[in-house]
Symmetry: C2
Subunit: 492 residues, 2 copies
Amino acid sequence: MASSLHPDLSTTTPEEVVDLVGAASVAAGPWAATSRADRARALGAVADALDAEADPLVGLARTETQLPAVRLRGELKRTTFQLRLFGEVLTEGSYLDVRIDHADPDWPMGAPRPDLRSRLEPLGPVVVFAASNFPFAFSVAGGDTASALAAGCPVLLKVHPGHPQLSVATGQVVTEALRAAGAPDGVFALLVGDEAGRAALVDLRVKGGAFTGSLTGGRALFDLATGRPDPVPFFGELGSVNPVFVTRTADARRAATIADGFLGSVTMGAGQFCTKPGVLLVPEGSTIPGELAAAQPPAAAPMLNDRIRDGYLATLDDLRRHADVSLLAEAENDQTADDAPGLTLLQTDVAALLADLNGMFRECFGPTGLVVTYRDDADLLALAEAIDGQLTATIQGEEGDEVVPELLRRLARRAGRVLWNAWPTGVSVTHAQSHGGPYPATTAPASTSVGTAAIGRFLRPVAYQGFPQSLLPDELTDRPRADLPRRVDGQV
Amino acid sequence: MASSLHPDLSTTTPEEVVDLVGAASVAAGPWAATSRADRARALGAVADALDAEADPLVGLARTETQLPAVRLRGELKRTTFQLRLFGEVLTEGSYLDVRIDHADPDWPMGAPRPDLRSRLEPLGPVVVFAASNFPFAFSVAGGDTASALAAGCPVLLKVHPGHPQLSVATGQVVTEALRAAGAPDGVFALLVGDEAGRAALVDLRVKGGAFTGSLTGGRALFDLATGRPDPVPFFGELGSVNPVFVTRTADARRAATIADGFLGSVTMGAGQFCTKPGVLLVPEGSTIPGELAAAQPPAAAPMLNDRIRDGYLATLDDLRRHADVSLLAEAENDQTADDAPGLTLLQTDVAALLADLNGMFRECFGPTGLVVTYRDDADLLALAEAIDGQLTATIQGEEGDEVVPELLRRLARRAGRVLWNAWPTGVSVTHAQSHGGPYPATTAPASTSVGTAAIGRFLRPVAYQGFPQSLLPDELTDRPRADLPRRVDGQV
């Protein structure tokens, strides 16, 4: 491990990209053919190796991200949990969507049904672009890597420049653990430098891409992937405002609690979460704005790096200068901690917001939120209809609220996840989780990048027609098996 | 029905497109909220209405497509079967991928798991571009329409100009049946004219597209869909060569049978199937070329229309002029039937083919095939590695053939369906069917446009966090139910 504390940070050259993609391409067949049990063991080995190296990795992460150790240790735990969870997904096997249709001469379609059997198979090598704000969970060994490797796809991991040393160190741990577990050479590699990432994404041997980051960066990569002579799937998670709708009843009953929860969520991680609640809708006359203005926000925390802080301050400045936006509260910066910006809360009303959605309803990546007053339920419904794709949308309400059913229906059409009396930050890794949404939340609305269903992004169906048992993939044979859910002649 | 025999064929104006998309957008909520049972009933009603109007519809189809009545009646049967099959998919419900994770304070991720429940929900209004070669099964009421309506998406159907009267007549039957079944107004509408189709596809209220047709046309629409300010999914099925690999042993044992099967498949529907086997690999010294040259091919059949015939003859001419391609057999044109082109078989060898894949390994939509001789198994493997995405790839082999396992693995990476001692034409509508493949077979390698899994193209996951039972969609509540497969706390 000593070497990983002084890692090689040199930019990957064009020639190296060609070689690494070539190695990934060669590894694709053997890795796809590796049994699910062996792939699960390899993911577990990566998790174990990361846990064993927790101290030096967290140490590196602290120096590069300014994040506190307790947060980083928690995130690493989440990361290794995620790797092991995808191992369980492999073992359970239903992700393969195995379907077996035996030949049927009387198939009512009007022609005999041949023997047809299908399962999902890996796309091939993919490029994963790491994010800055979760140096473990959405970076080198994060959810995209875990789900792509689980699916059977080699991964070319484009390092995020926000934590390069941690990335290279993590990459060494991953590579060594995979090798020791018997994975083929080339199944995982790091790419350093934007140009290396782009070159890999347009290499014809690469079959897909995944990204978590900014709207601009993600859209540029999506355009590259879809503009190839042979377009490939690109799963970009770009950005989200994550509006919160407080009903009049909830406001009357729980204003202080809601203000408190909003403050905690909007400042969590210095506001640098893609699920940060950026807009809070409260009824006219609500005491919530007053509560927020009077509250003592959590201590200002340093942002991930200067580039992100500068970008945040520029967008915030833009919003503050908006003619219809006024200042609600401004906490002091923390002068002791690298000029960590304090919480800034802005306010406007829903009529102004609807009149300039593009100008005001936008992601501002940092410790800020826009509090919007509305007059009546129709305002809430109008805004829910007007907004574009979101990762999350939240209702703070009461069960009898008349507006809620229709508001919920509208928000479910806009967001990948809807929440009730909860806060969107903190994305649990579970079976039912959905972290996605229509554009611009993602470039692929039918997918999630968190939770066990994330593996589906890296798979495609292949049907086998008329093959003898001896030539079929193991999962598709008639051999009775209790260990794998299958749909046989239409019945699960 | 009388009126549908003199349908309105006028081009949809830009203003009409705006109105139709608007109506589809208004219908999206109510149609998504329509129960699965009611949507299944509506699909069944459409199938019943089409069956009831079979005579006039087949009559119209005959005048516009030159296809024989028996084929058209079979295709209509397949079409109504497909509509009813998607009704069964709705009733069975597993397509919803319901996942319920109860709150778990001890979730090993390191943070408590909230109550999270997810299911797949419809994308919203979609534009479906009809194909020319299946005037029923891939047209107005075809597989894309059936699966999108089943998913809960309103459909704007761009009419194929190859059979406009049939399209408008079919559209009337569909619209009236849906209305009578209680579906919301606007859930289905026809668009006439290329510009109308394009305008709808880039309308921000449209959330996806599906297409079956040419590489050029499909790619242009894919570029439109992905180039929108807010890109949307586009499922284009563009084209395929569908190579057939005959092993040396199979050639030695069954040359005559294979030649016969190939002739039947390559001339079926006058070669106008996207799964037509366009390239046949045979070992040097095979008697198959001789059998093919000597055989009496089926009578030449008229092509769908003059545009397709002219396109076919131009591509064929191009291939025939290729320096490394020679003529193997040329049947006479049928001068009595609108100059129906006879079967033309060309030949080359694998070295020449590999030297100019772009020039020779290409779809030629009509009654022609390229017979390619190879020297050894390595040639087969090299070609399987070199080709691009295919809808199908076929092995004619024997179980003990040494080359088969590796050949199969390579072909499965290139094609959506692999076949063994069968012919790719005739795509059965079943649970396990996969009609798709990497580009250029499709623009969406992770999907199928035929079979029950086709519904998945029009769905996206939505997670509900922390909602009380009274506000959850019915399928996500804790109410015990035997009628719907669900994954609860990770267990199906």
